[in-house]
């Protein structure tokens, strides 16, 4: 059975849950959509994990040029990045 990886792109809230489930970050249940991901532990090491996991989940290959502070700032900007690369 083939499971399509390219399910719907994430909303910021879905992304928060997914980051927790994947163990990329440990975010509080009430972590805000515009919360600071860098302060929550999204360092360069966690980013590598994130990129691999995003590829697994949404089939999106994020490259070095995508990984800017601005793109990775909050769940909102990260979800927007994934949406932009999915479409």
């Amino acid at each position: 059975m083939e499971v399509s990886k390219k399910t719907t792109s994430p909303t910021p809230t879905e992304l928060i849950d997914w980051l927790n489930d994947e163990g990329v970050l440990e975010l509080d249940w009430d972590f805000p959509e515009d919360g600071n991901l860098a302060e929550a532990g999204l360092d360069s090491m966690a980013v590598m994990q994130l990129v691999v996991a995003v590829e697994d989940r949404w089939g999106v290959e994020l490259g070095p040029e995508d990984l800017t502070k601005a793109n990775l700032a909050t769940p909102i900007t990260l979800a927007a990045l994934i949406v932009a690369r999915t479409s």
């Binding site: 990329v24 990129v51 691999v52 490259g63 070095p64 502070k69």
Partner: protein, 401 residues
């Protein structure tokens, strides 16, 4: 001709952060002390393995400003290191850590030892055998000239691997291989690459690209870089695959350690070649320093009069006989998903009882550092050098007590 056997009040096995603290503390009380170290310098993980942060020195707190958790030797080392590097504690997420430079640590250790007239340092020495004979320990010191016996009334195991337990044939425990913390492999790089946030992220992207393209092994995914504080010098750290993927993983076995060293160097070489060919800011970068040994985080532990547990740490449990505070969260590095930190409730530190430094049922023997009596979970906190200074000092004091 018979030679008088050298005898000491205290012998300390291992000159890492714990053994150094133990030996200097014992010697300061006037005890005739022997410090035995296998490398050509002291400092252990902080020098031979290039681990360039002192963790566990400071209390866990939400307010800014780092507050030292343990007075005495740990605080003294912090002060000396800050004077040497000019760099104070740094807040990383919820934690305060003190960046340290391995080259400075070696010198500081030399000076601490040189100041103690009753401390005898023996570098390039391994211990080949330990046994209790009457009222003294008989210790075989092994060097290139052969084995030379010495005696000591009290013995401190600061080996990190509970080597005395191995020689006495019991009293220790070790987590099953799949749970053992993964080893750290740290190496020095010369590069003028920027360590600003965006270039770090760009570098992370390049590493993923290299792994994706099959040019780098998956282990490279966890690599982190940190400026050493010296111009053009960067330390890189990788967690090597451990018992979760390597069959028969045994950090006490030289064959296993050999494989780790070779793997660490191969990954490091691949990463630097890849980055310097692929990125303008990494062009011209080269590896400037190999570690003397891969950084083993966890191996054999003593079973003492008390076994400190992860539950104790989470609850911030305190003890009547506590000798130091454990302030570092339990830092699990059991798989490739990166470090997982478990913080105590309310951020309260737990005490480490003296009983964790006393192997059960054996008199005149003390233990310090990462092989004190804990379970696997608590070891993930107390293994850090900031805490090892404190347990080492306590062992040195107990041995002359």
């Amino acid at each position: 001709m018979t030679r008088t056997r050298e005898s000491f009040d205290v012998a300390v096995i291992g000159g890492g952060s714990a053994g150094l603290a133990a030996a200097v503390t014992a010697a300061r009380s006037g005890a005739r002390t022997l410090l035995i170290e296998r490398h050509g310098y002291l400092g252990g993980m902080g020098t031979a393995s290039l681990v360039h942060s002192f963790c566990g020195l400071y209390l866990l707190r939400d307010e800014p400003d780092a507050v030292l958790a343990n007075p005495g030797f740990a605080s003294e080392i912090a002060e000396r290191m800050i004077a040497a590097t000019g760099i104070g504690p740094v807040r990383m997420g919820r934690l305060d850590v003190l960046p340290q430079h391995p080259v400075e640590f070696v010198r500081i250790a030399d000076e601490l030892v040189a100041a103690e007239t009753s401390l005898e340092l023996r570098l390039h020495t391994e211990v080949s055998a330990v046994s209790r004979n009457g009222d003294a320990w008989e210790i075989g010191l092994c060097g290139r000239s052969g084995v030379r016996p010495v005696t000591a009334i009290n013995l401190i195991d600061g080996s990190g691997d509970a080597v005395v337990a191995g020689m006495l044939g019991g009293g220790s425990s070790m987590a099953a291989a799949p749970k053992l913390q993964r080893p750290a492999y740290v190496f020095g790089i010369h590069s003028n690459s920027s360590m600003a946030d965006d270039s770090r992220l760009h570098t992370a992207g390049l590493i993923v690209e290299g792994v994706r393209g099959g040019l780098l092994p998956a282990d490279a995914l966890g690599i982190t870089f940190r400026a050493s504080g010296r111009v053009g010098e960067i330390f890189a750290s990788i967690d090597l695959a451990g018992g979760e993927t390597v069959s028969d993983f045994d950090p006490l076995d030289p064959a296993c350690l050999t494989a780790l060293e070779l793997r660490g160097r191969r990954i490091a070489t691949g990463v630097i070649r890849w980055l310097s060919s692929r990125s303008e800011s990494w062009r011209g970068a080269y590896i400037s320093q190999w570690p003397g040994r891969a950084g083993i985080r966890e191996s054999r532990r003593w079973i003492g009069e008390y076994i400190l547990t992860g539950t104790d740490l989470l609850a911030g449990k305190r003890f009547d006989d506590e000798i130091a505070l454990a302030t570092w969260p339990m830092e699990f590095r059991e798989d490739a998903k990166g470090p997982k930190l478990r913080y105590p409730e309310d951020g309260r530190p737990a005490g480490i009882p003296l009983r964790c430094l006393k192997p059960a049922g054996i008199d005149h023997l003390f233990v310090s550092g990462r092989c004190i009596s804990t379970d696997h979970d608590a070891q993930a906190s107390i293994r850090v050098m900031g805490t090892c200074f404190a347990t080492g000092e306590a062992a040195g004091r107990a041995a002359v007590g």
